[in-house]
Protein backbone atom coordinates (compact mmCIF):
# COMPACT_ATOMS: atom_id res chain seq x y z
CA UNK A 1 0.00 0.00 0.00
CA UNK A 2 1.36 3.39 -0.91
CA UNK A 3 1.93 6.00 1.76
CA UNK A 4 -0.33 9.05 1.84
CA UNK A 5 2.38 11.37 0.57
CA UNK A 6 2.58 9.45 -2.69
CA UNK A 7 -1.08 9.86 -3.47
CA UNK A 8 -1.74 12.64 -5.94
CA UNK A 9 -5.30 13.11 -7.01
CA UNK A 10 -6.57 14.91 -10.04
CA UNK A 11 -7.79 18.48 -9.80
CA UNK A 12 -10.30 19.65 -12.36
CA UNK A 13 -10.56 23.33 -13.20
CA UNK A 14 -14.11 24.58 -12.71
CA UNK A 15 -14.58 28.05 -14.18
CA UNK A 16 -17.43 30.23 -12.97
CA UNK A 17 -17.62 32.94 -15.57
CA UNK A 18 -20.49 35.33 -16.01
CA UNK A 19 -20.62 38.93 -17.15
CA UNK A 20 -23.13 41.08 -15.32
CA UNK A 21 -24.58 44.37 -16.45
CA UNK A 22 -26.20 46.65 -13.91
CA UNK A 23 -28.10 49.86 -14.37
CA UNK A 24 -26.40 52.50 -12.24
CA UNK A 25 -29.63 54.31 -11.32
CA UNK A 26 -30.51 57.93 -12.07
CA UNK A 27 -28.43 59.75 -9.45
CA UNK A 28 -25.31 57.70 -10.18
CA UNK A 29 -25.88 58.40 -13.88
CA UNK A 30 -25.71 62.13 -13.10
CA UNK A 31 -22.60 61.58 -10.96
CA UNK A 32 -20.81 59.73 -13.73
CA UNK A 33 -21.82 62.16 -16.49
CA UNK A 34 -20.81 65.20 -14.37
CA UNK A 35 -17.27 63.85 -14.13
CA UNK A 36 -16.87 65.02 -17.76
CA UNK A 37 -17.21 68.62 -16.44
CA UNK A 38 -14.79 67.87 -13.57
CA UNK A 39 -17.65 68.00 -11.09
CA UNK A 40 -18.30 65.64 -8.19
CA UNK A 41 -21.89 65.31 -7.02
CA UNK A 42 -22.98 64.12 -3.62
CA UNK A 43 -26.49 63.93 -2.25
CA UNK A 44 -27.58 65.43 1.06
CA UNK A 45 -30.28 63.68 3.06
CA UNK A 46 -33.08 66.19 3.76
CA UNK A 47 -33.99 64.34 6.96
CA UNK A 48 -30.65 63.80 8.76
CA UNK A 49 -28.21 65.88 6.70
CA UNK A 50 -25.81 63.02 5.90
CA UNK A 51 -24.04 63.60 2.59
CA UNK A 52 -23.49 60.51 0.45
CA UNK A 53 -20.87 60.34 -2.26
CA UNK A 54 -21.31 58.85 -4.76
CA UNK A 55 -25.00 59.83 -4.54
CA UNK A 56 -27.61 57.26 -3.67
CA UNK A 57 -31.37 57.39 -3.84
CA UNK A 58 -31.93 56.47 -0.21
CA UNK A 59 -30.48 57.24 3.20
CA UNK A 60 -29.61 54.05 5.05
CA UNK A 61 -29.10 55.98 8.29
CA UNK A 62 -32.58 57.51 8.65
CA UNK A 63 -34.28 55.60 5.83
CA UNK A 64 -35.43 58.65 3.91
CA UNK A 65 -35.83 58.74 0.14
CA UNK A 66 -33.53 61.16 -1.62
CA UNK A 67 -33.90 62.72 -5.04
CA UNK A 68 -32.35 64.89 -7.69
CA UNK A 69 -33.29 67.99 -5.68
CA UNK A 70 -30.92 66.81 -2.95
CA UNK A 71 -27.83 66.72 -5.17
CA UNK A 72 -25.02 68.89 -3.90
CA UNK A 73 -21.74 69.71 -5.61
CA UNK A 74 -18.57 68.78 -3.77
CA UNK A 75 -15.26 70.52 -4.24
CA UNK A 76 -12.96 67.63 -5.07
CA UNK A 77 -10.83 68.56 -2.07
CA UNK A 78 -10.78 66.65 1.15
CA UNK A 79 -8.71 65.14 3.89
CA UNK A 80 -7.00 61.80 4.22
CA UNK A 81 -8.73 59.73 6.91
CA UNK A 82 -6.39 56.82 6.43
CA UNK A 83 -3.82 55.42 4.04
CA UNK A 84 -2.14 52.18 3.20
CA UNK A 85 0.49 51.04 0.73
CA UNK A 86 -0.17 48.19 -1.65
CA UNK A 87 2.80 45.87 -2.20
CA UNK A 88 0.70 43.32 -4.09
CA UNK A 89 -2.33 43.27 -6.31
CA UNK A 90 -4.81 40.61 -7.31
CA UNK A 91 -4.08 39.47 -10.83
CA UNK A 92 -7.74 38.81 -11.59
CA UNK A 93 -7.13 35.10 -11.96
CA UNK A 94 -6.99 34.44 -8.24
CA UNK A 95 -3.35 35.09 -7.38
CA UNK A 96 -1.48 37.96 -5.82
CA UNK A 97 1.38 39.41 -7.78
CA UNK A 98 4.08 41.63 -6.30
CA UNK A 99 4.03 45.22 -7.51
CA UNK A 100 7.26 46.53 -8.99
CA UNK A 101 6.59 49.76 -7.13
CA UNK A 102 4.41 50.08 -4.01
CA UNK A 103 1.16 51.97 -4.61
CA UNK A 104 -0.40 54.21 -1.95
CA UNK A 105 -4.15 54.13 -1.44
CA UNK A 106 -6.36 56.32 0.71
CA UNK A 107 -9.62 56.65 2.58
CA UNK A 108 -10.76 60.20 1.91
CA UNK A 109 -13.44 62.48 3.32
CA UNK A 110 -14.36 65.14 0.79
CA UNK A 111 -15.22 68.62 2.08
CA UNK A 112 -18.93 68.69 2.79
CA UNK A 113 -19.36 64.91 2.50
CA UNK A 114 -19.88 62.20 5.12
CA UNK A 115 -19.18 59.07 3.07
CA UNK A 116 -15.64 57.78 2.79
CA UNK A 117 -14.12 57.64 -0.69
CA UNK A 118 -11.58 54.88 -1.30
CA UNK A 119 -9.16 56.09 -3.95
CA UNK A 120 -5.66 55.52 -5.26
CA UNK A 121 -3.16 58.21 -4.25
CA UNK A 122 -0.54 59.71 -6.53
CA UNK A 123 2.31 62.26 -6.61
CA UNK A 124 3.19 61.24 -3.07
CA UNK A 125 5.62 58.80 -1.49
CA UNK A 126 4.28 56.25 0.99
CA UNK A 127 6.44 57.70 3.79
CA UNK A 128 4.95 61.17 3.23
CA UNK A 129 1.40 60.02 3.92
CA UNK A 130 -0.18 61.48 7.04
CA UNK A 131 -3.62 61.27 8.56
CA UNK A 132 -5.48 64.56 8.14
CA UNK A 133 -3.40 65.52 5.09
CA UNK A 134 -5.25 67.73 2.60
CA UNK A 135 -5.78 66.01 -0.73
CA UNK A 136 -7.41 66.88 -4.03
CA UNK A 137 -8.67 65.03 -7.06
CA UNK A 138 -6.52 64.62 -10.18
CA UNK A 139 -8.59 64.38 -13.35
CA UNK A 140 -7.83 62.53 -16.52
CA UNK A 141 -6.54 64.86 -19.26
CA UNK A 142 -9.79 64.76 -21.18
CA UNK A 143 -12.62 63.61 -18.91
CA UNK A 144 -15.28 61.65 -20.76
CA UNK A 145 -17.99 61.15 -18.17
CA UNK A 146 -16.67 57.83 -16.88
CA UNK A 147 -15.54 56.66 -13.44
CA UNK A 148 -12.00 56.49 -14.82
CA UNK A 149 -12.05 60.31 -15.13
CA UNK A 150 -10.94 60.36 -11.49
CA UNK A 151 -7.32 59.26 -11.85
CA UNK A 152 -6.26 59.52 -8.23
CA UNK A 153 -5.98 61.97 -5.35
CA UNK A 154 -2.80 63.87 -4.54
CA UNK A 155 -1.66 66.12 -1.69
CA UNK A 156 -3.37 69.52 -2.14
CA UNK A 157 -1.29 72.59 -2.89
CA UNK A 158 -1.29 75.13 -0.08
Amino acid sequence: MSSQSEIVLTKVPVPLVAGFQWSVGELMEKFIKALADRKIWGVKCPECGYVYVPPRWRCGKCYAKLGEENLTELSGKGILLSYATAYVELDGAGSFKDLSEPKPIGAIKLEGADSTLFMPLGEVKPEELKEGMKVEVVWREEPKGELADIKYFKPAKR
Binding site: A84, Y87, I105, P120
Partner: protein, 380 residues
Protein backbone atom coordinates in the same frame (compact mmCIF):
# COMPACT_ATOMS: atom_id res chain seq x y z
CA UNK B 1 -35.10 33.68 26.42
CA UNK B 2 -38.46 31.94 25.97
CA UNK B 3 -37.12 28.40 26.32
CA UNK B 4 -33.61 27.16 26.71
CA UNK B 5 -31.49 25.69 23.96
CA UNK B 6 -28.20 23.85 24.38
CA UNK B 7 -25.28 22.71 22.28
CA UNK B 8 -25.22 18.93 22.70
CA UNK B 9 -22.64 17.84 20.15
CA UNK B 10 -19.93 19.19 17.88
CA UNK B 11 -17.18 18.26 15.44
CA UNK B 12 -14.62 20.10 13.37
CA UNK B 13 -12.06 19.23 10.73
CA UNK B 14 -8.31 19.67 10.69
CA UNK B 15 -8.43 23.04 9.03
CA UNK B 16 -5.98 22.50 6.23
CA UNK B 17 -6.04 21.42 2.65
CA UNK B 18 -6.33 17.66 2.27
CA UNK B 19 -6.26 16.58 -1.36
CA UNK B 20 -7.95 13.31 -0.43
CA UNK B 21 -11.04 15.04 0.89
CA UNK B 22 -13.66 16.45 -1.43
CA UNK B 23 -15.93 19.14 -0.05
CA UNK B 24 -18.71 16.60 0.44
CA UNK B 25 -16.35 14.25 2.31
CA UNK B 26 -15.39 17.11 4.62
CA UNK B 27 -19.02 18.09 5.21
CA UNK B 28 -20.01 14.47 5.85
CA UNK B 29 -17.19 13.95 8.35
CA UNK B 30 -18.14 16.90 10.56
CA UNK B 31 -21.91 16.40 10.29
CA UNK B 32 -21.62 12.71 11.11
CA UNK B 33 -19.03 13.56 13.77
CA UNK B 34 -21.30 16.05 15.52
CA UNK B 35 -24.17 13.53 15.57
CA UNK B 36 -21.82 10.86 16.94
CA UNK B 37 -20.54 13.31 19.54
CA UNK B 38 -24.13 14.03 20.60
CA UNK B 39 -24.94 10.32 20.59
CA UNK B 40 -27.86 10.69 18.22
CA UNK B 41 -28.55 9.59 14.67
CA UNK B 42 -29.60 11.40 11.50
CA UNK B 43 -33.19 10.30 12.11
CA UNK B 44 -33.30 12.36 15.33
CA UNK B 45 -32.53 15.61 13.51
CA UNK B 46 -35.54 17.82 12.70
CA UNK B 47 -33.88 20.64 10.79
CA UNK B 48 -30.52 21.19 9.10
CA UNK B 49 -28.96 24.62 8.59
CA UNK B 50 -25.77 25.01 6.59
CA UNK B 51 -23.60 28.04 5.95
CA UNK B 52 -21.27 28.78 3.08
CA UNK B 53 -20.91 31.38 0.39
CA UNK B 54 -21.75 30.48 -3.17
CA UNK B 55 -18.85 32.37 -4.67
CA UNK B 56 -16.37 30.71 -2.28
CA UNK B 57 -18.00 27.38 -3.11
CA UNK B 58 -17.73 28.10 -6.85
CA UNK B 59 -21.29 26.88 -7.22
CA UNK B 60 -24.66 28.56 -7.13
CA UNK B 61 -27.20 27.40 -4.55
CA UNK B 62 -24.36 25.21 -3.39
CA UNK B 63 -26.40 23.46 -0.70
CA UNK B 64 -28.30 21.57 -3.40
CA UNK B 65 -25.25 19.39 -3.89
CA UNK B 66 -24.03 19.22 -0.27
CA UNK B 67 -27.48 18.52 1.21
CA UNK B 68 -27.08 14.76 1.19
CA UNK B 69 -23.53 14.91 2.58
CA UNK B 70 -24.79 16.94 5.53
CA UNK B 71 -27.59 14.50 6.26
CA UNK B 72 -30.48 16.67 5.09
CA UNK B 73 -32.01 14.06 2.76
CA UNK B 74 -35.81 14.39 2.96
CA UNK B 75 -35.55 16.83 5.87
CA UNK B 76 -36.30 20.46 6.57
CA UNK B 77 -33.18 22.23 5.31
CA UNK B 78 -32.06 25.80 4.90
CA UNK B 79 -28.84 27.58 4.01
CA UNK B 80 -27.40 30.75 5.49
CA UNK B 81 -24.94 32.72 3.41
CA UNK B 82 -21.85 33.91 5.34
CA UNK B 83 -20.61 32.47 8.65
CA UNK B 84 -21.89 29.36 10.41
CA UNK B 85 -22.31 31.33 13.63
CA UNK B 86 -25.21 33.11 11.90
CA UNK B 87 -26.55 29.68 10.94
CA UNK B 88 -26.37 28.69 14.63
CA UNK B 89 -28.37 31.80 15.49
CA UNK B 90 -30.95 30.81 12.88
CA UNK B 91 -31.09 27.24 14.19
CA UNK B 92 -31.60 28.56 17.72
CA UNK B 93 -34.61 30.56 16.51
CA UNK B 94 -36.05 27.54 14.70
CA UNK B 95 -35.92 25.54 17.94
CA UNK B 96 -37.33 28.45 19.97
CA UNK B 97 -40.23 28.60 17.51
CA UNK B 98 -41.34 25.28 18.99
CA UNK B 99 -41.55 23.63 15.59
CA UNK B 100 -38.21 21.80 15.85
CA UNK B 101 -36.43 20.12 18.77
CA UNK B 102 -33.06 19.18 17.31
CA UNK B 103 -31.05 21.13 14.75
CA UNK B 104 -27.82 20.27 12.96
CA UNK B 105 -25.72 23.28 11.93
CA UNK B 106 -22.83 22.90 9.50
CA UNK B 107 -20.46 25.41 7.87
CA UNK B 108 -17.48 25.06 5.57
CA UNK B 109 -15.09 26.75 3.17
CA UNK B 110 -12.24 25.36 1.13
CA UNK B 111 -9.95 28.34 0.67
CA UNK B 112 -7.73 26.17 -1.50
CA UNK B 113 -10.20 26.10 -4.40
CA UNK B 114 -10.20 29.83 -5.12
CA UNK B 115 -8.44 32.88 -3.65
CA UNK B 116 -10.94 34.12 -1.05
CA UNK B 117 -9.43 37.62 -1.17
CA UNK B 118 -10.50 37.85 -4.81
CA UNK B 119 -13.99 36.83 -3.74
CA UNK B 120 -13.94 39.54 -1.05
CA UNK B 121 -13.58 42.18 -3.77
CA UNK B 122 -16.79 40.88 -5.35
CA UNK B 123 -18.70 42.00 -2.24
CA UNK B 124 -17.90 45.66 -2.98
CA UNK B 125 -20.24 48.11 -4.69
CA UNK B 126 -20.05 46.96 -8.32
CA UNK B 127 -20.95 50.45 -9.51
CA UNK B 128 -18.09 52.18 -7.74
CA UNK B 129 -15.34 50.63 -5.58
CA UNK B 130 -15.06 47.52 -7.74
CA UNK B 131 -14.50 49.65 -10.80
CA UNK B 132 -11.25 51.04 -9.36
CA UNK B 133 -9.88 47.58 -8.64
CA UNK B 134 -7.53 48.02 -5.68
CA UNK B 135 -9.94 47.45 -2.81
CA UNK B 136 -10.42 44.01 -1.24
CA UNK B 137 -10.65 42.69 2.30
CA UNK B 138 -6.91 43.05 2.92
CA UNK B 139 -6.44 46.56 1.52
CA UNK B 140 -9.57 47.72 3.37
CA UNK B 141 -8.26 46.11 6.57
CA UNK B 142 -4.98 47.98 6.05
CA UNK B 143 -6.87 51.28 5.88
CA UNK B 144 -8.86 50.28 8.96
CA UNK B 145 -5.73 49.22 10.85
CA UNK B 146 -3.89 52.45 10.06
CA UNK B 147 -6.88 54.58 11.06
CA UNK B 148 -7.28 52.70 14.35
CA UNK B 149 -3.55 52.75 15.10
CA UNK B 150 -3.24 56.48 14.39
CA UNK B 151 -6.31 57.37 16.42
CA UNK B 152 -5.23 55.53 19.55
CA UNK B 153 -1.45 55.50 19.23
CA UNK B 154 -1.25 51.74 18.71
CA UNK B 155 2.15 50.51 17.51
CA UNK B 156 2.88 47.79 14.98
CA UNK B 157 4.59 45.89 17.81
CA UNK B 158 1.39 45.89 19.85
CA UNK B 159 -0.55 44.57 16.86
CA UNK B 160 2.12 41.93 16.27
CA UNK B 161 1.75 40.80 19.90
CA UNK B 162 -1.80 39.65 19.07
CA UNK B 163 -0.44 37.52 16.21
CA UNK B 164 2.27 36.06 18.46
CA UNK B 165 -0.28 35.14 21.14
CA UNK B 166 -2.70 33.47 18.73
CA UNK B 167 -0.13 31.69 16.57
CA UNK B 168 1.52 30.29 19.70
CA UNK B 169 -1.88 29.25 21.06
CA UNK B 170 -2.66 27.55 17.75
CA UNK B 171 0.36 25.30 18.28
CA UNK B 172 -1.55 23.56 21.10
CA UNK B 173 -4.69 23.07 19.03
CA UNK B 174 -4.81 19.86 16.97
CA UNK B 175 -7.36 21.36 14.57
CA UNK B 176 -5.51 24.61 13.88
CA UNK B 177 -3.76 25.23 10.58
CA UNK B 178 -1.00 27.80 11.22
CA UNK B 179 0.92 26.75 14.31
CA UNK B 180 3.97 28.73 15.33
CA UNK B 181 5.07 27.79 18.86
CA UNK B 182 8.26 29.87 18.68
CA UNK B 183 7.06 32.90 16.74
CA UNK B 184 8.33 36.31 17.85
CA UNK B 185 7.20 39.90 17.37
CA UNK B 186 10.25 40.43 15.12
CA UNK B 187 9.27 37.49 12.94
CA UNK B 188 5.74 38.86 12.59
CA UNK B 189 7.05 42.31 11.70
CA UNK B 190 9.41 40.80 9.12
CA UNK B 191 6.76 38.71 7.42
CA UNK B 192 5.71 39.58 3.87
CA UNK B 193 3.93 42.92 3.46
CA UNK B 194 0.69 42.72 1.50
CA UNK B 195 -0.88 46.09 2.14
CA UNK B 196 1.12 48.07 4.69
CA UNK B 197 0.55 47.64 7.66
CA UNK B 198 -1.02 44.20 6.97
CA UNK B 199 1.50 41.39 6.71
CA UNK B 200 1.30 37.68 6.13
CA UNK B 201 1.36 36.96 9.86
CA UNK B 202 -1.08 39.72 10.87
CA UNK B 203 -3.78 38.37 8.56
CA UNK B 204 -5.56 35.04 8.78
CA UNK B 205 -4.29 32.15 6.67
CA UNK B 206 -6.27 30.66 3.79
CA UNK B 207 -7.61 27.42 5.25
CA UNK B 208 -9.85 24.52 4.29
CA UNK B 209 -12.23 23.44 6.98
CA UNK B 210 -15.67 22.52 8.21
CA UNK B 211 -17.46 22.53 11.51
CA UNK B 212 -20.81 21.25 12.79
CA UNK B 213 -22.84 21.48 15.99
CA UNK B 214 -26.05 19.93 17.24
CA UNK B 215 -28.53 22.16 19.07
CA UNK B 216 -31.43 20.84 21.12
CA UNK B 217 -34.38 22.17 23.08
CA UNK B 218 -34.09 22.01 26.87
CA UNK B 219 -36.13 18.83 27.19
CA UNK B 220 -34.23 17.00 24.44
CA UNK B 221 -30.87 18.33 25.59
CA UNK B 222 -31.36 16.82 29.04
CA UNK B 223 -32.26 13.48 27.45
CA UNK B 224 -29.28 13.54 25.12
CA UNK B 225 -26.41 14.66 27.34
CA UNK B 226 -25.20 15.18 30.90
CA UNK B 227 -23.10 18.15 29.83
CA UNK B 228 -25.35 20.52 27.88
CA UNK B 229 -23.80 23.86 26.99
CA UNK B 230 -26.61 26.39 27.30
CA UNK B 231 -27.00 29.36 25.03
CA UNK B 232 -27.53 32.10 27.61
CA UNK B 233 -27.54 35.03 25.26
CA UNK B 234 -27.16 35.95 21.61
CA UNK B 235 -26.96 39.15 19.58
CA UNK B 236 -26.42 39.91 15.92
CA UNK B 237 -25.99 43.23 14.18
CA UNK B 238 -25.30 44.60 10.71
CA UNK B 239 -23.36 47.85 10.16
CA UNK B 240 -23.54 50.17 7.16
CA UNK B 241 -21.64 49.57 3.94
CA UNK B 242 -17.91 50.27 4.06
CA UNK B 243 -18.29 53.87 2.78
CA UNK B 244 -20.81 54.83 5.43
CA UNK B 245 -19.56 53.48 8.75
CA UNK B 246 -16.84 54.25 11.28
CA UNK B 247 -13.87 52.11 10.36
CA UNK B 248 -11.88 52.65 13.56
CA UNK B 249 -14.46 50.92 15.75
CA UNK B 250 -16.82 47.98 15.48
CA UNK B 251 -20.21 49.52 16.19
CA UNK B 252 -22.18 46.48 15.05
CA UNK B 253 -20.16 44.16 17.29
CA UNK B 254 -20.70 46.48 20.24
CA UNK B 255 -24.46 46.40 19.64
CA UNK B 256 -24.50 42.60 19.16
CA UNK B 257 -22.51 42.14 22.38
CA UNK B 258 -24.80 44.42 24.35
CA UNK B 259 -27.84 42.47 23.17
CA UNK B 260 -26.19 39.16 24.08
CA UNK B 261 -25.06 40.46 27.49
CA UNK B 262 -28.56 41.78 28.19
CA UNK B 263 -30.13 38.40 27.42
CA UNK B 264 -27.55 36.53 29.51
CA UNK B 265 -27.70 38.96 32.42
CA UNK B 266 -24.05 39.92 32.01
CA UNK B 267 -23.32 43.42 33.29
CA UNK B 268 -19.54 43.12 33.61
CA UNK B 269 -18.12 40.88 30.86
CA UNK B 270 -14.57 41.26 32.20
CA UNK B 271 -15.58 39.69 35.50
CA UNK B 272 -18.46 37.45 34.44
CA UNK B 273 -17.08 35.70 31.35
CA UNK B 274 -14.20 33.27 31.75
CA UNK B 275 -12.96 32.84 28.19
CA UNK B 276 -13.48 34.47 24.80
CA UNK B 277 -13.26 32.95 21.33
CA UNK B 278 -13.38 35.68 18.69
CA UNK B 279 -13.06 35.88 14.89
CA UNK B 280 -10.10 38.21 14.40
CA UNK B 281 -9.38 38.02 10.67
CA UNK B 282 -6.53 40.50 11.23
CA UNK B 283 -4.39 41.00 14.33
CA UNK B 284 -5.46 44.64 14.84
CA UNK B 285 -9.10 43.55 14.74
CA UNK B 286 -8.66 41.59 17.96
CA UNK B 287 -7.76 44.81 19.78
CA UNK B 288 -10.86 46.47 18.31
CA UNK B 289 -12.91 43.43 19.38
CA UNK B 290 -11.72 43.79 23.01
CA UNK B 291 -13.09 47.32 22.97
CA UNK B 292 -16.39 46.50 21.25
CA UNK B 293 -16.97 43.66 23.73
CA UNK B 294 -16.54 46.15 26.56
CA UNK B 295 -13.43 44.48 28.00
CA UNK B 296 -11.69 47.85 28.10
CA UNK B 297 -12.33 51.43 27.08
CA UNK B 298 -12.14 52.59 23.45
CA UNK B 299 -8.52 52.68 22.32
CA UNK B 300 -7.24 50.66 25.27
CA UNK B 301 -7.12 47.25 23.58
CA UNK B 302 -3.35 47.70 23.32
CA UNK B 303 -3.06 47.71 27.13
CA UNK B 304 -4.78 44.31 27.42
CA UNK B 305 -2.41 42.64 24.97
CA UNK B 306 0.66 44.37 26.34
CA UNK B 307 -0.08 43.29 29.90
CA UNK B 308 -0.78 39.73 28.77
CA UNK B 309 -4.31 39.88 30.15
CA UNK B 310 -5.76 38.07 27.12
CA UNK B 311 -3.13 35.35 27.13
CA UNK B 312 -3.95 31.81 28.22
CA UNK B 313 -2.85 32.58 31.76
CA UNK B 314 -4.32 36.08 31.77
CA UNK B 315 -7.44 37.32 33.51
CA UNK B 316 -9.53 37.24 30.34
CA UNK B 317 -8.10 34.66 27.93
CA UNK B 318 -8.99 35.44 24.31
CA UNK B 319 -8.59 32.78 21.62
CA UNK B 320 -6.77 30.05 23.54
CA UNK B 321 -7.51 27.95 20.43
CA UNK B 322 -5.48 30.29 18.23
CA UNK B 323 -8.49 32.09 16.78
CA UNK B 324 -8.86 32.98 13.12
CA UNK B 325 -5.15 33.78 12.84
CA UNK B 326 -4.57 30.10 13.62
CA UNK B 327 -7.04 28.85 11.01
CA UNK B 328 -9.61 30.62 8.86
CA UNK B 329 -11.87 28.36 6.82
CA UNK B 330 -13.97 31.48 6.28
CA UNK B 331 -17.62 30.43 6.64
CA UNK B 332 -16.72 27.90 9.35
CA UNK B 333 -14.55 30.25 11.41
CA UNK B 334 -17.28 31.76 13.62
CA UNK B 335 -18.93 28.38 14.17
CA UNK B 336 -15.52 27.00 15.18
CA UNK B 337 -15.40 29.77 17.82
CA UNK B 338 -18.76 28.53 19.13
CA UNK B 339 -17.35 24.99 19.31
CA UNK B 340 -14.14 26.15 20.99
CA UNK B 341 -16.17 28.08 23.58
CA UNK B 342 -18.37 25.01 24.17
CA UNK B 343 -15.25 22.82 24.53
CA UNK B 344 -13.97 25.14 27.25
CA UNK B 345 -17.24 24.80 29.17
CA UNK B 346 -17.32 21.01 28.76
CA UNK B 347 -13.71 20.78 29.87
CA UNK B 348 -12.68 19.25 26.56
CA UNK B 349 -10.14 21.82 25.36
CA UNK B 350 -7.22 19.43 25.63
CA UNK B 351 -3.96 21.33 25.87
CA UNK B 352 -5.52 24.76 26.22
CA UNK B 353 -8.23 24.32 28.83
CA UNK B 354 -9.23 27.40 30.82
CA UNK B 355 -11.38 26.90 33.94
CA UNK B 356 -14.65 28.15 32.46
CA UNK B 357 -18.29 28.33 33.47
CA UNK B 358 -19.24 30.97 30.96
CA UNK B 359 -17.72 31.68 27.56
CA UNK B 360 -18.24 34.11 24.69
CA UNK B 361 -18.06 33.18 21.02
CA UNK B 362 -17.96 35.71 18.18
CA UNK B 363 -18.48 35.38 14.44
CA UNK B 364 -18.26 38.03 11.76
CA UNK B 365 -18.64 38.51 8.05
CA UNK B 366 -17.92 41.19 5.49
CA UNK B 367 -15.04 43.51 4.76
CA UNK B 368 -13.71 45.15 7.95
CA UNK B 369 -16.09 43.01 10.08
CA UNK B 370 -19.26 44.69 8.84
CA UNK B 371 -21.60 42.15 10.44
CA UNK B 372 -21.21 40.45 13.80
CA UNK B 373 -22.84 37.82 16.00
CA UNK B 374 -22.13 37.07 19.65
CA UNK B 375 -23.04 34.00 21.72
CA UNK B 376 -22.82 33.71 25.50
CA UNK B 377 -22.55 30.05 26.51
CA UNK B 378 -22.78 28.65 30.00
CA UNK B 379 -22.82 25.41 31.97
CA UNK B 380 -25.87 26.33 34.03
Amino acid sequence: MAGRVAIVGYAQSHHQHDIQMTREDMVFEVAKGALRNAGISREDVDTVITASTDFLDGRTISNLYTSMAVGAYLKDESKVEEDGAFAAYYALMRILSGVHDIALVEAHTQGSVVNPHLVSSYTLDPLFERQYGFLNDISAAALQARMYMNKYGVSEEQVAMVAVKNLMNAADNLNAHRKMPDVTVEEVLNSKLYYDPIRELTMSPVSDGACAIVLASEEKAKEITDIPVWIEGVGSCQDGYLRDRSLYKLDSLQKAAQDAYGMAGVSNPFAQIDVFEVSEKYAHEELMIYEALGLCREGKGKTLIEKGMTGKDGEIPVNPSGGALGADPICATGLIRVVEAAKQIRGEANGYQIPAYRALAHGQFGICAQKNVVFILGSE
